[in-house]
Each structure stands twice: as C-alpha cells, then as structure tokens.
C-alpha cells in the first residue's frame, strides 16, 4: 500500500468520508475514474502523470447523491475547477475533502476552500509549450487559412458532445444546443452546426476554462478543441491583465472595470 492508498484506507475506515473519487488502472493500464467506498478497495487506487482526467466533473452528480463527505483526487486544474464550481454555486465545499496529488506518495489535503484558493493564487495558469507553438502557428496563418484550418478540424466533429460531458464546467441541465426555439445552434453536425457549437462552447468558457484539456482528451475524433480555450486564456491575460480563479471574484463576463481595454472600438 502506498501513502495515498493508506490515507484513503484510513479516511474510509474512520468514516470521515464515505466516497473517494480517484483513479484506477483501466484497460491497457490507462488510468480511469474510480469510485471507492470500501476501505479494502483503496488498493485499486493509483496516481501517476497519466492521471489527467479532471475528476471534478463528477462532483455535481456524485456528491449530491452521496450520503456523507466525499474525498476527491485533484490535480492543479481540478483545484481551479473546485474554486470555479464553488463560485458558481455548483458544489457544497463543506462536505468535500480535496486530495491534491503530486505523486502516489506526495499529496496535500484540503478541507477549507480558502486554503485551496491561497494555493491556486500562487500558480499562474500557463499554456504548455506544445500547444503554445500550435497556437502561434495557427495565429500566423492568414485569416482565410485559419478559417480553412478550423473548417477541416470541425468537419471531423460528429456532435457526440464528449467535450461537453468531460468538462467539469459544462454542468447546465439544458445545454443551449438543446434549445430549438430559437435554434441557437444547428444541432446536426454539418459545417455551420459545428462552427456554431464550438464557438459557443469556447465563449461559454471565457474566463472559466480550467486549462485541464478534458475536452480535447475526450474528443473521439481528435479535434484540438483545447486550442480555442487556451488561445482565449492567453488573449484574456493580455487584454485584462490576469487570469485567476476565486470563490468570490465573479466571472470575467459578469463583471467589468470602467477602464477595461477597448482596442476594438472604432
């Protein structure tokens, strides 16, 4: 039993929590979500660099139905997610124990959301070099070429909404694509429908995107969706100076500063 498993074993035995959301090894030893209720099952848990899936996507459904406190494995983006979800009144942090995992025997435990905020404040949201390069390359294209690039990418989209399902912040009970009066987004996966869907999705992530890549990792046809939101993170940093997560700060688009940049005004 490694430290992490031991810890989970203990909190389940002591009944401090009744459910632990973590990772276990799935097919081909790829990590997958695991829901542990029995101390004995804590051996199944793993944590390694392959554990990228953002487990906070389960917080809404699994915590509301769960009797008692829930513990969850969290990576840095997941911590941001918890702050954002709390600020959007989607989770009760009171019955949540957050296990910030660095490795299977190095982790930090939080039961106070403010402590999480303190930690997250210190960590700047950074775009990894691989994607930064991609964003650069795309930005260098002519506007028509960029449109062609995305037309091709979006043409792969089959509208399975795995991106939506995997995103912890896509929690709406009725997504805008499901409204047809008026038809905000054309639901068939034709070119227009796909453009509308992906632009809307990105806009709804403005200032909220956790930079966790859940959307892109979930996409069965490998559309680099995360580039859209990653670009926006960069753009927002440039235009509004900061990109942070907070329980009480309010959302980028639901707040304003009188002296915000307005470079686009003609």
């Amino acid at each position: 039993m490694d430290k992490l498993q031991k810890f989970v074993f203990d909190i389940l035995t002591s009944k401090e929590v009744t459910l632990v959301i973590g990772y276990e090894n799935g097919s081909a030893n790829k990590p997958r979500p695991a829901f542990i209720r029995e101390p004995s099952d804590s051996e199944r848990l793993v944590f390694n660099e392959k554990c990228v899936l953002n487990l906070t996507v389960y917080l809404g459904t699994h915590c509301t139905n769960n009797p008692g406190k829930v513990a969850i494995f969290a990576t840095l983006p997941a911590l941001c997610s918890i702050l954002q979800l709390a600020s959007e009144h989607q989770i009760q942090t009171a019955d949540l124990l957050v296990i910030y995992c660095k490795s299977n025997d190095e982790f930090e435990v939080f039961d106070d959301i403010n402590k999480i905020e303190e930690l997250v404040c210190k960590e700047e949201v950074v775009i990894d070099s691989k994607n930064s390069v991609l964003i650069e390359t795309i930005s260098k294209l002519s506007v028509e070429e960029r449109f062609e690039y995305w037309t091709e990418q979006f043409s792969k989209c089959i509208k399975c909404y795995a991106c939506r399902a995997a995103c912890p912040l896509c929690y709406c009970t009725r997504c805008t694509v499901e409204i047809n009066q008026p038809q905000w987004v054309h639901s068939p996966s034709h070119a227009l429908g796909n453009f509308e869907w992906h632009i809307m999705r990105a806009m709804h992530m403005a200032g909220r995107c956790l930079n966790c890549d859940a959307c892109a990792n979930a996409c069965p046809v490998d559309i680099p969706l995360n580039l859209l939101t990653k670009y926006m993170i960069r753009d927002i940093k440039e235009k509004f100076g900061e990109y942070t997560f907070s329980v009480n700060k309010g959302n980028l688009l639901s707040t304003f500063k009188p002296d915000d940049k307005e470079t686009l005004i003609r």
Binding site: H89, Q90, G250, S254
Partner: protein, 669 residues
C-alpha cells in the same frame, strides 16, 4: 395564425417624397401573416389613428406594424391607440422609415426597398411578440430618511406635509447636522440657527414624522415600495418619555472636561449631555465612554438629581423594524481635519483650525460666545490667514474634485472676522474664486472691496510656528509667483469636504453604488440626479457631493417629490419589458443551472435566488429569479446567461432571431 395590419405613414412629404409609400403598402400586403396594409398621409393624426382602430376591428387584427417615424417618437401613441381598439399594446411595433430611411437616403427604388425590408423585419418581429400586461408593484406609503441634517429635514417635511408617514433616522443625539454648527450663512449673513431651528422644531411637531435620533440603519431588505428596515436605536441611558429636558443633570454632571463634538472640540461638554441648547429632541444622552459611573461603577449623580427619574443606566440598544416604500439618503458629509496636512503642521499648531472650527468661534452659541479668539491663548488674532482649497482640487492628496462651498464660506469667514475685529488683517490664499450662484459673486466682491480682505492668488507651501506666530509661506501667482510670507496669529484651512464616515459601509448594506470618494452615485448624472441605481432609494444633499445649503435643500425637495410621486398611487405600474427566468413543470422546474453569475451582471440588484419546492415543500432546485419591481430591462443578464434561461419580454431571443432572418432574406419581397 397571425393577422397583422401594416400601416404606412407618408408623414406628409417627409416620407412620401422619398419613399413610394403605396408600393411599400402593396409589397407589404404580400408578406406572410399580413392581412391588411394601407398607406396614409398622417398616421399619427386623429383620422390616421381612427383608420388604424377601424381596421383593427374590421380585420380583427392580432398585431400591428406602423411604418412611420422613430418609435422613440410615436411608439407610445400607436400602442395606446391600438390598445383602445383591443389589440394588446405590446403587439404593436414601429418600422422607422423616416429617420432611418426617407430622411437619410435619396428618392428611389433602393430606398423604397429598404422601407419594405424594415417593414418585413417588424412583421416578423410582431409574429413573435406576446401580449404583455404592465407590472403592478404594491407601494407601502412610508419613507425612511437617513440623516437629519438640513437635507434630511427638508425631505422629511416635504414628504410629511404631502400627507405621508416619514421615519427620520439620525445618527447623533440631535438632528440639525452641520448647518446647526454654522454661525452665519452666505450670501445673506443671516444666522444659521435662526433659520434652521424652526425647521427642527417643525420636524419634532409634525404628526407624520417619527424621529428616531441616536440611531443607525442596521439592515435593509426588500425592494422599491416594499423595503423592510431594521434600525438600531442606541442606548441613550435616558428614558425619553420620562425626561422633560430640564437639563438639571447636565449642570450637575461631575465629568465636565469632555471635548464637545458640536464645538469641533474647541469647547467642553459633560458626560450626560445635549449637543447644543436647541437640540431636537432636547433629551440628554449619557456618553458611556466618559461617564464616571460606567467607568468606575459609582457616581449616579444625574440619577439622583433627575426630577422625573428618567435615567436608565441599564438601558440597551433597541432594534426597531419598519416597513417603508422609499428611502432617502441624506447622510451628509465631513470636512478633513487639519491633521491631514503635514505642510500646515499636522494639526500640531493649536491656532491652525478648520473652517468648521472657525464657524464655532464665530458663532454666538460657540465656545467663545462669538468672539474670534485663538484656541491656544484666547487672544484675539490681529492677522488671520485663510487658505482655500486645503486638500480640494489636489490630485496629489487624492482629492481631484472641488469642494464647492469653500470659496464662499472663506469669503464669509473673512468678512465675519473683519466685522468682529475691524482693525484686524485678513488674507485669503486661493486658486480660483468659484462664486457661481445667486448673489455669490457680489458677496465675494463685498469681502474684497468693503471689508478689504486681501485675496492672494497662490498656494501656501508651508505654515510653521516661530516665536508665537504662524509663518505662512506662499506665492502670489498674479505677481509672477512672487514669494509671500505672512506672520499670522491664526490660520484657517478651508479643508475639503469628504464623504461622511460610514458612507461606504451603508452603501454596501443597502446596495447603492458609490464613487471612488465614497460619495453615493446618482442613477444618471444629468437626468436622474436624485435617484440611485437601486429603485426606490433616493439621494439628498452632500452625501452625493459637497453642496451648499440652497443646493442641498432643493435636492432634498427634488428627492421628496420623487417619493411623493411614487406614493401617489397605492400600486406602482411598470412597463413589462423586463427579464424573466424560465419556469417549467417538475421535474425540470427551470433550465436555470443556478450559477448566479447573473447576479453580479445585473446593475440593479434585481436578480435574487429562489428555492423551488415540491408539493411537500422539499427544496428541489435553487434558481435565479428576476424581481419585476427592480428590473429595468437592460437585458445584460439575458445575453450573459449560458443556458439561455433568462429572456427579456419585448426583445426576446425569438424576436431578435426573426428580425435578423427577415432583414437578411429580403428575396421574398
């Protein structure tokens, strides 16, 4: 199926000369949903309106499009006309074919086509319009006035005299505010108290006014017409009903060396005290910080001497709940203390005083009974220097604005000094003289010419003490910045007017916006100067910005008339063009996901949380709810809501989609 009537107005030549109105009518008639269309010379004229009404009945129309001038001009006219003929006013739209078409384009095919397109757009919109009923909000006809200075007094009296209940809450033991501290008032030099105290008495005697002094607002909930206020009435330690205000206690109280706030700390008061002789209510308060009994547990002399046994040492703060329909903020302002100015000695020098302190010196009821005497040694100053704009208009000090009253009261002070010390010498350092106001400029001139006050245009760089004198170092910019040095006996700083302390906390408590200087912000700088952005809360006097008495009083009456207007009906009627969060049957209840970010997007605090319960009363979902009493219909929340759970009546998403589609697909017509 929609039955829409389209009415094309020639507006005489205004439209007719450029747009082929007959053709527009002809083409419009072909639009799907249009059952009748006609053009006429003047639609807004009586025959024009009659034509519309007649057609509505004959064709039993469900909607109307009037293609004429700007809706900002005649929308109300035509909506009224149609509703008289039985069509819901919100089923009526206007196509602006004058300001946006005939007046800005040349005569021709294209212009006529554009007119048709605009009609087409509105026809499609009307198809998606829904009949709306105007919103009724009950109004509790009682007003809460916060602050009993001249502004609060004026508002209270105006509202009370209009026959409505008023609750006037004052933080201090007595009403009167800063005006009660003033000696004379510019530009007439009549005694401040002589004009104020009668008003104070009126307040006390007006049966419609409930005066709650020595009290503060604890909390506020509700919205326009329906506020619930909790007021904390601080323990006076005196039973107001029993007390006759004879004042015996104050004469017998042993602790007598407490600096008097009313006299700006230049005189003394007792521990049980009435701020000033004409106080209203004229009932003493025990200052528990300084009362011997509260400090060491014995004394109680006041209790012994009190003929009516009105002293209550065990009295506690009391929370009073009031229901009111409107609130007026009249919490006034403060002035900076001399300690704010390092260059003028950090308030170390006893004889460097503020304008307000000078008022007390000059006041017959003041510590010197109206003689101008130096606080330090009580000598009558032979040379006195007034420094205007002490802090004001000084970005370096964080105060960019002009305090507005200083120019006038400084002139007044100089005059008063000269009247009391005829052979004395008064100089005023100023930046500009701002004497805009009836008889104001004349007043300043009098100071200069008749009373020989020296006006020196320039700033004072430093004031320091040198063998019993105050050396004022400055420059005269009119003499090319020539250095000026005056050996003064006394220096009066016209310190900047600033927000009254606690203003920010109050603003947050009741959700009104305030500026960087903590002054409350008006709803519109030009057109809604006495309203706040929170419906039902109004502004009067210097809590909005520094103001002189006449301005405060007129603003107070302005606020009062707004309140009286609101109280003129038992129900407030509002246009139904407001945002609505959708609701549906269980198990869905609403598509709102309850992120409540809309709350921060709303400029009017109109969005609240609502708990939706099942038939057993179990909370199923907590979702957003728009308060129809507060929503002004800007639609910011609508555009913000990610799940599109909020829509706005009259500019609904369906209507906008229809307009866009119609405007860009004009190949049908």
């Amino acid at each position: 199926m929609a039955r829409i009537g389209v009415f094309i107005c020639h507006c005489g030549e205004n439209i007719g000369a450029t747009v082929d109105c007959a053709k527009v009518a002809e083409l419009s008639s072909r639009l799907e949903g249009v059952t009748y269309s006609v053009d006429y010379k003047y639609m807004c004229s009586d025959p024009g309106q009659t034509l519309i009404k007649k057609t509505i009945k004959e064709q039993n129309l469900t909607g109307v499009v009037v293609a004429a001038c700007s809706p900002r001009m005649h929308e109300p006219t035509f909506r009224k006309a149609c509703s008289e003929a039985g069509v819901n006013p919100y089923m009526v739209e206007m196509a602006n074919i004058r300001e946006h078409c005939s007046w800005v384009h040349d005569k021709g095919e294209a212009t006529t086509q554009k007119a048709v397109d605009l009609v087409h757009m509105m026809v499609e919109k009307v198809k998606n319009n829904k009949p709306l009923q105007s919103i009724k909000v009950p109004v509790k006809k009682a007003a809460l006035i916060l602050g009993g200075g001249i502004a609060g007094i004026q508002t209270s009296l105006d509202i009370a005299n209009a026959g409505h209940k008023v609750i006037l809450v004052e933080r201090e033991p007595s009403i009167g505010g800063h005006m009660s501290q003033l000696s004379e008032t510019f530009p007439t030099l009549d005694c401040s108290q002589c004009i104020l105290t009668p008003r104070m008495v009126e307040v006390a005697q007006n049966p419609n006014i409930e005066l709650i002094s020595y009290a503060e607002l604890e909390s506020l909930e509700g919205f326009i017409g329906n506020f619930k206020a909790k007021i904390r009435k601080k323990a006076r330690s005196v039973d107001e009903k029993a007390c006759t205000g004879c004042g015996l206690c104050t004469t017998k109280c042993p602790s007598r060396k407490i600096p008097s706030e009313f006299n700006e700390n230049m005189g003394y008061r007792t521990a049980i005290y009435v701020p000033f002789p004409q106080a209203v209510p004229n009932k003493p308060v025990i200052d528990r910080e300084n009362c011997t009994y509260y400090k060491i547990g014995k004394c109680k002399i006041c209790e012994i001497v009190c003929p009516t046994k009105a002293i209550r040492f065990d009295q506690e703060d009391e929370i009073i709940e009031k229901e009111v329909g409107a609130i007026v903020l009249a919490t006034g302002f403060n002035v900076l203390g001399t300690d704010f100015f390092p260059e003028y000695g950090y308030g170390k020098y006893k004889d460097v005083i503020t304008g307000l302190q000078f008022e007390r010196l000059a006041s017959a009821s003041g510590p010197t009974l109206g003689d101008i005497r130096r606080p330090s040694d009580g000598k009558i100053p032979e040379k006195i220097v007034f420094i205007a704009c002490a802090g004001s208009r000084d970005p370096a000090k964080g105060i960019e604005y002009c305090s507005k009253i200083c120019c006038m009261y400084t002139a007044k002070h100089a005059m008063l000094y000269k009247h009391k010390v005829p052979n004395g010498d008064a100089s005023i350092f100023y930046m500009d003289i701002r004497a805009a106001g009836k008889m104001y400029e004349e007043f300043v001139r009098r100071a200069i010419t008749e009373d020989e006050v020296h006006y020196i245009r320039g700033r004072v760089s430093r004031v320091y003490e040198k063998n019993g004198k105050l050396i004022v170092k400055g420059a005269d910019t009119l003499l090319g910045g020539m250095p000026v040095e005056i050996e003064a006996d006394m220096v009066v700083l016209a310190t900047a007017g600033v927000a009254s302390q606690g203003a920010e906390a109050l603003a947050q408590k009741i959700h009104v916006s305030y500026d960087t200087h903590k002054f409350f912000t008006e709803a519109h700088p030009k057109l809604r100067p006495v309203e706040t952005n929170t419906a039902g809360i109004f502004l009067a006097g210097a809590c909005h910005a520094p103001k002189d008495i006449p301005e405060s009083v007129s603003m107070a009456s302005g606020a009062a008339s707004k309140v009286i207007g609101l109280f003129s009906k038992s129900e407030m009627t509002r246009e139904p063009l407001i945002a609505i969060v959708n609701r549906s049957a269980p198990p869905v209840y609403s598509s709102c996901a309850g992120c409540f970010l809309c709350i921060s997007a709303c400029p009017y605090q109109a969005i609240e949380k609502e708990e939706l319960k099942d038939h057993r009363g179990k909370i199923m979902k907590t979702v957003a709810k728009v308060n129809p009493g507060l929503c002004q219909g800007c639609g910011t929340c609508v555009a913000f809501c990610r799940s599109n759970s909020i829509d706005i009546q009259g500019y609904s998403n369906e209507q906008v989609f229809a307009e866009i589609a119609a405007l860009l697909n004009n190949d049908t017509v």
